[in-house]
């Protein structure tokens, strides 16, 4: 067996093993077995690193390994499961292993004393297993299966503190919203399988290029699959679950709801890019672009530090989807990579702050103050220097400041978008979404930093109890803070303004297999052409956003309150998230529940009680009448009047008129049989 396949098997199944050990024996093991999960995840990281290093040493952009086996066999109908390992897979495996490892380490202290400590680590293992399953899948069916399993681990971890109603609600909402997307995903799979007769990506690609599925059907199939991505990557209008998912423990938010799981939708879009038709791509681009802008506009007014980051994640995922839609899908994957590092770090940072707040509040026996509300923070900079500097690096990365990773990846996306808008001027809106979101992102991220770490503490007597977090938590912060610099993603090149490096060498865009789509060269040439303009504009808007943020929250040259009033209705929309939850509740959930109740009432009270039972009553009534006729009329008048022999006949006849339903049915039956017998001779 090939080394890559072997290592992948380890990477896939070790976390599952840890899950099984933890779920059955975790509580009885010393330290509740966290070391089991941690050693498993470190081994996974080790194998992922070896694969990554071998990728770098081989430096082969066309590297590809595939292995599969027949899982289900009905003769002609078969489902094969298998691995597809190329450079994208290897990079993704490393992302998952690295962030998962950091999350494990970070959680040791963050969830210390938690009542379900071993359970928590078990679920982390289940998640890592499922996520790696998605990453390694070589076909749509296994991807769908792991896709759902990821949904379950997310359900379990969001609901980790299920005693809280909000957490229980959030976990259910996450699962159900994802299922809406999965319906589309499954319909897409059926459409493709129906045409191509296989689930494997390679067969699907060759099937599409040979025209087995084309035109509108292909567009619908592609959009169906994309609907799955919309659910998982929290794209408008299925974005509602991700902010609520922040009810889960913060390290989980870093791992799943920022870096990896929500990126699965982007990963799927990257994988299926070659079969998306121009129409499908256009819709994808609009969904992504709109989500990027729309979510950013919500993040701007949130005061819960995790909510800011959550909407920022939605917005950044929108960027990636926008990149897929405009054709620069390797840029989407590049942003997935850099975003995973800096966004996970931002969540760890927020976790560090919340942890510290929590302990400070606990010390004062204050259980009412919200430890996540930035209105209760301020001035933490000197108290938590590692957290501050680490978060600052990542904030620069997400805001798109040069020499940081996010600048490069965002620039690549914006160049692609700009080029798309230049070629299709009617879609100039996409470019506006892209650059607009970039400006807003820079603004709200620095707003978050300023509110949390700068200025005067808003609760002055709390500040003395705010301390830097223990090294289990600062360790990941230092590592990922460092990974916010551009250099890690462009080696062996040192130019901070060029994405060129190992990534662009090893992840080459593939041509679409849909006949008539733009080729990879054409797309790349366009993006290259738009590159400089995009870069200047994006640096400009980022600088503008940061400056404005500084003006509002440090210099106080502009008052946030006054501006909030001045733009009253916009502010109101933003802080209330455009009332999506309220409207979904009013126009979707409640009507569905009312419909269900109506249907159940019809079924039980109306149909069953009146129709079915009425049927019984009718027969009862008929039998009573016939009994009456039988006795009063036949027996009393006719029979009694025609002598003894006839009376005997009557009594016999009366016996079978028992009024029992069974008998009547039997007589009817007998009649039918006789008729049938007559007919068949």
């Amino acid at each position: 067996m090939d080394m890559h396949i072997q290592y992948s098997l380890f990477i896939l199944f070790l976390p599952l093993l840890a899950f099984l050990i933890q779920i059955f024996f975790g509580k009885r093991l010393p330290r509740q077995g966290d070391w089991v999960s941690i050693s498993a995840i470190f081994t996974t990281l080790f194998f992922a690193l070896i694969m990554f290093i071998s990728m770098l040493t081989n430096y082969n952009p066309d590297f590809k390994q595939e292995a599969s086996f027949v899982w289900l066999d009905m003769g002609e109908f078969q489902i094969r499961l298998g691995f597809l390992i190329d450079n994208i897979t290897i990079i993704m495996l490393l992302i998952v292993a690295l962030i998962s490892t950091c999350t494990h380490i970070f959680s040791i202290k963050y969830l210390e004393d938690d009542i379900r400590y071993s359970r928590y680590f078990a679920y982390l293992g289940l998640f890592t297993f499922s996520m790696n399953g998605i990453v390694l899948a070589n076909n749509l069916m296994s991807m769908y299966m792991f896709w759902e399993l990821v949904g379950v681990s997310s359900y379990l971890l969001i609901g980790h503190w299920f005693e809280k109603k909000s957490a229980a609600n959030a976990s259910k909402k996450a699962f159900l919203t994802n299922r809406v997307g999965d319906i589309g995903f499954f319909i897409g799979i059926m459409l493709i399988y129906n045409a191509v007769g296989s689930f494997a990506f390679s067969d699907v690609f060759s099937g599409v290029s040979s025209g087995l599925i084309a035109g509108t059907t292909l567009t619908i199939a592609g959009l169906g699959l994309f609907m799955g991505a919309m659910g998982k990557s929290s794209q408008f209008p299925l974005h509602i679950w991700l902010p609520d998912a922040m009810e889960g423990p913060t390290p989980v938010s870093a791992l799943m709801h920022a870096a990896t799981m929500v990126a699965a939708g982007v990963y799927l879009s990257v994988r299926i890019f070659p079969i998306l038709t121009p129409d499908a791509l256009l819709l994808v681009a609009y969904v992504g672009g709109f989500t990027a802008f729309f979510a950013a506009s919500i993040a701007i007014t949130q005061s819960d530090i995790k909510k800011v980051l959550a909407y920022s994640t939605v917005s950044q995922l929108g960027y990636m989807i926008l990149a897929v839609g405009t054709g620069v899908y390797t840029a989407a994957f590049f942003h997935l990579l850099t975003h995973a590092m800096f966004k996970a770090n931002l969540f760890y940072g927020s976790g560090s702050v919340i942890h510290s707040m929590h302990h400070a509040l606990h010390k004062k026996h204050d259980h009412h103050t919200d430890p996540q509300d930035m209105n209760n923070m301020g001035g933490f900079k000197d108290k938590m220097p590692i957290t501050y500097w680490s978060m600052l690096l990542s904030t620069m990365a997400i805001a798109g400041v040069p020499i940081f990773s996010g600048f490069l990846s965002k620039d690549a996306i914006l160049a692609g978008t700009l080029s798309f808008a230049q070629h299709n001027p009617q879609h100039f809106l996409l470019a506006i979404f892209g650059f607009g979101a970039a400006a807003i992102t820079a603004f709200y991220m620095f707003r978050m930093m300023f509110l949390t770490f700068h200025g005067n503490p808003k609760i002055p007597d709390l500040i003395d109890d705010i301390h830097e977090s223990p090294k289990e938590m600062t360790g990941p912060l230092i590592l990922l803070g460092g990974l916010s610099f551009f250099i890690w993603y462009t080696l062996p090149n040192y130019n901070p303004f060029s994405t060129y490096g190992w990534f662009t060498d090893l992840v080459k865009p593939m041509n679409a297999v849909v006949p008539g789509n733009m080729t990879a060269e054409e797309i790349e040439a366009g993006a290259h052409h738009a590159h400089y303009l995009a870069m200047y504009v994006s640096i400009g808007v980022a600088a503008f956003g940061i400056f404005l943020s500084w003006l509002f929250y440090i210099k106080k040259g502009l008052s946030a309150e006054v501006w909030a009033k001045r733009w009253g209705f916009l502010y109101d929309w933003s802080i209330n998230k455009y009332y999506f939850d309220e409207n979904y509740d009013k126009y979707i959930y409640q009507p569905t529940l009312r419909l269900a109740e109506k249907i159940a009432w019809i079924d039980w009270e109306l149909y069953d009680k009146y129709f079915i039972n009425g049927f019984g009553r009718l027969i009862n009534w008929v039998s009573k009448i016939s009994g009456k006729i039988d006795y009063d009329f036949i027996d009393q008048i006719i029979v009694d009047g025609t002598g003894k022999a006839a009376s005997l006949f009557g009594r016999t006849f009366k016996k079978i008129q028992t009024g029992k339903l069974q008998n009547y049915v039997l007589y009817v039956t007998a009649g039918v049989i006789i008729l049938m017998v007559i007919q068949s001779f």
């Binding site: 109908f77 319909i187 399988y193 269900a596 039980w604 049915v665 049938m676 007919q679």
Partner: protein, 514 residues
């Protein structure tokens, strides 16, 4: 092992006689007798599984003896890939059912005697190859079921029992008419194998009162079986019977008795009237859609947990119906799509088994909580996860199995049903994928209300699920997990038989002339 099938059928009768002899005070002996009887029967079904030749798509272990020669009635038994898994499931669920019934207090002797009689009836239906015998066993099931619900059930047990009885009897009578119609139209034989050969040709073009005989018989038999499935609109007996029946009887009802309907449709309607399959397939898929949506919506609105699970059966059997309809995909008119036909029919048959294990598990779990809290109001619980972690974990797996989570068996069969039916019934399948969402919605919502939130103080001393209960539910859980990860052993057993059913339907249908 020449008479293994007879042994399977009559062993419970022997057990019943032993139970009848044991004095009524010796309750422990009665229970043990029932356990031993069903235990041996279960072992025999496993031996049958082991000895079964999965390459052979025809009847195996056949037994034949003359019975009433003047009417051409014979004692004819056999097993193939369609009935074998059902036979094993019957063995398993009756064995488990004894332990689920272990705490029955009232009239133990009568209970187990009827329980074993029911066992004979069910086994007999699955193994009969003579229509007359089939019908006798079909009716034999009815009687013990009536008493088991009517005497050992909940507060409304009598109403539920009579309703169940009349509903099913109505179906039986239609079925009897259908059977007799076949008997006279096809050269006076009750032999199912022979009818499978003769009927498609004999009925071809035959008209009764100007209507095609195939249509008449198809509808008569279909209604008879549809009541058992239950297919909308013949389903309203089910929630009532389930709510009132004691736990073990609910387990058997959902686990096996409902499967008799699907089994009957495939064995009889598909085997004897291939033309009817074509004629009816769209209606079948459409009824499946209604079952999925109607059952799902009703389940969503339920306040009683057991009723929710009962409606989930309506919902889940809908997938089976959709899958069954896919057989026509292999026909010429639909492009000889053997892949789809195999996926659909295989999925439908797999779904029967999976729903058998999953719903049995669900009913046992409902019984566990009812035993402790003495009510089943979903809203009346809350926070049980912190009080009963093991019970919560098992219920979570069962609920996730119910909502079709990959890795658990229900997903595979549902997916196969969808994939199989898709090429022919695109609109219906797309509409019924809403079931993917509905299933998740009603299960997760119920789960949240029962297990999440702060613990209801009333239940702060609720005991954890005990060893006996674990013993009844763990095997089902393992099966669900095993076939969810590795479905091949099951599909290997059925696939040859599925192929011969598909080929039979396709090669003998002359729909155009109907």
């Amino acid at each position: 092992m020449d008479y293994i099938l007879s042994l399977l059928i009559w062993l419970p009768i022997i057990g019943m006689i032993v139970v009848a002899i044991i004095p009524r005070e010796k309750e422990e002996s009665i229970r043990i007798t029932a356990a031993v009887t069903t235990g041996i029967q279960f072992l025999l079904t496993l031996i049958l599984w082991y000895d079964f030749d999965s390459q052979d798509g025809s009847m195996q272990f056949k037994e034949w003896a003359e019975w009433i020669p003047s009417f051409n009635i014979a004692y004819h038994l056999g097993v193939d890939g369609l009935s074998l898994p059902m036979v094993v499931l019957t063995g398993l669920l009756f064995f488990i059912g004894v332990f689920v019934s272990w705490n029955i207090k009232k009239a133990v002797k009568g209970y187990f005697a009827l329980f074993l009689l029911l066992n004979t009836g069910v086994m007999g239906v699955f193994l009969s190859l003579d229509f007359f015998l089939f019908y006798i066993f079909w009716e034999v099931m009815l009687l013990p079921m009536y008493f088991l619900i009517g005497m050992w059930g909940g507060p409304q047990r009598e109403y539920a029992a009579i309703k169940f009885f009349l509903y099913t009897l109505f179906g039986s009578v239609l079925m009897l008419v259908g059977i007799l119609g076949l008997y006279f139209a096809c050269g006076k034989t009750f032999d199912i194998l022979e009818l499978t050969r003769i009927a498609p040709l004999a009925l071809d073009g035959m008209l009764w009162w100007g209507i095609s005989a195939i249509k008449v018989i198809w509808v008569l038999l279909f209604i008879g079986f549809a009541i058992k499935v239950p297919v909308f609109p013949f389903h309203t007996w089910l929630p009532l019977a389930h709510v009132e029946a004691p736990t073990a009887i609910s387990v058997l009802l959902a686990g096996i008795l409902l499967k008799l309907g699907v089994y009957g449709i495939i064995r009889v309607n598909y085997g004897l009237m291939p033309d009817g399959v074509y004629w009816f397939s769209t209606a079948l898929a459409f009824l499946g859609l209604i079952n999925v949506v109607w059952g799902g919506l009703c389940a969503l609105a339920q306040k009683d947990l057991k009723k929710l699970v009962a409606y989930s059966s309506v919902n889940h059997m809908g997938y089976s119906l959709i899958g069954m309809a896919a057989v026509v995909a292999a026909g010429e008119a639909n492009g000889l799509n053997m892949k789809a036909a195999q996926a659909g029919l295989g999925g439908a048959v797999f779904q029967m088994f999976n729903h058998g294990t999953i719903s049995a598990m669900l009913f046992i779990l409902v019984g566990v909580i009812y035993e402790r809290a003495h009510h089943r109001e979903i809203e009346g619980f809350g926070g049980l996860a912190s009080q009963m972690p093991v019970y919560t974990g098992i219920t979570a797996v069962a609920f996730f199995a119910g909502l079709g989570l990959p890795g658990l068996s229900g997903f595979i069969s549902e997916a196969m049903c969808f994939i199989g039916a898709f090429p022919v019934f695109k609109g219906i399948v797309i509409a019924s994928t809403i079931g993917i969402l509905l299933n998740a919605a009603y299960f997760l919502w119920a789960f949240q209300r029962i297990f999440f939130g702060e613990l209801n103080d009333k239940y702060s001393d609720l005991p954890e699920i005990n060893k006996l209960e674990l013993f009844t539910v763990i095997p089902l859980l393992l099966i669900t997990l095993f076939f969810g990860i590795y479905p091949s052993p099951y599909l290997d057993i059925i696939s040859s038989t599925m192929d011969s059913i598909i080929n039979h339907v396709i090669s003998l249908s002359t729909y155009a002339s109907m």
